[in-house]
Symmetry: C2
Subunit: 202 residues, 2 copies
Amino acid sequence: MALMFWYDFSSTYSYLAAMRIAEKAAAAGVEVTWHPFLLGPIFAEAGHAGSPNLVGEAKAGYMWMDIGRRAAHRGIPFVRPAVFPQKSVAAGRAALALEGEERAAFSRAVFGEIFGKGRDCADLAVLADAATAAGLDPERVVAGASDATAKAALFAAVDEAKTHGIFGAPSFVTHDGALFWGDDRLDHALHWERTGMLPEGG
Amino acid sequence: MALMFWYDFSSTYSYLAAMRIAEKAAAAGVEVTWHPFLLGPIFAEAGHAGSPNLVGEAKAGYMWMDIGRRAAHRGIPFVRPAVFPQKSVAAGRAALALEGEERAAFSRAVFGEIFGKGRDCADLAVLADAATAAGLDPERVVAGASDATAKAALFAAVDEAKTHGIFGAPSFVTHDGALFWGDDRLDHALHWERTGMLPEGG
């Protein structure tokens, strides 16, 4: 029994979730598995021209304001990346070439490079720095970005995400298949994972 | 000092917010003003072909599931309306022709007709029933739907919503201009209205 955490490295709200899910899940006594995937093909299939968060100036402006507001409140850095959305294929593969706590630590570090420092995760040097920050061997991690097995795993992750009904990120899927979309709903997902129901006020 | 609650009668998540905001605001000691507006022109200007919640089967499916799940949890009825999205112009005008607690009570009743019973708020008979349910004179309320002042007020409401940066509904605007989008963020908006900051865990 574990809560699945589905994220795309290019997703702003996935950053917020990635930086707090381990602590919140531990406090709730819930195990988490980390599932990088790609929103691009899912957005394209749904008929979005690009990120739905960027449709219209008002919505895009709100997103950046809201991310900054919440990051400041949570005491985590936020720098709006010059490149956005980013190509998250290499980062996704590199993360999938790792397992368990290594994948989680590397993923947090990649998010930190992107949204904590404003860097571009399509740059392999950024992935190497994230690996180092996570205490991993950068050469081994960067090799994962061009690994054939990881490449196939990323395609498979997109397909698996679709089977869960996932259309955005972050998404959380409980062991009994309940889907929650958005960093806002992390508390709901954790409570459901433990109890099979929404929390009070949910 | 009051928290502004911006809603479109055709908005599913506005239903969830409308049915709980009075109680939650009272508990927080916050005054609320009710602001019906129209998402249609705002979506069109942003480049949406229709409701962003309906882009792609997965997202639309999630929305209906999620609304039903939360409504059940909160003990409020939910019937998916056969007509969706709905034309909310008449309901918006009728609501704007009322003031204060009459507007709030009528608005809750309209939402109840739409999402609690599955009826179409473009039907004036539905607005009459909502007025009766809210303890108001149905003839007077329905007359508001074709009132010239209310018509102008609804246009003005859309313009005012834009000045607050509103791009979706429900939206909450605090007395110091902070914007929160979504029923999920009601607690944050109420806390900000009182304290000028996000709540713990926000």
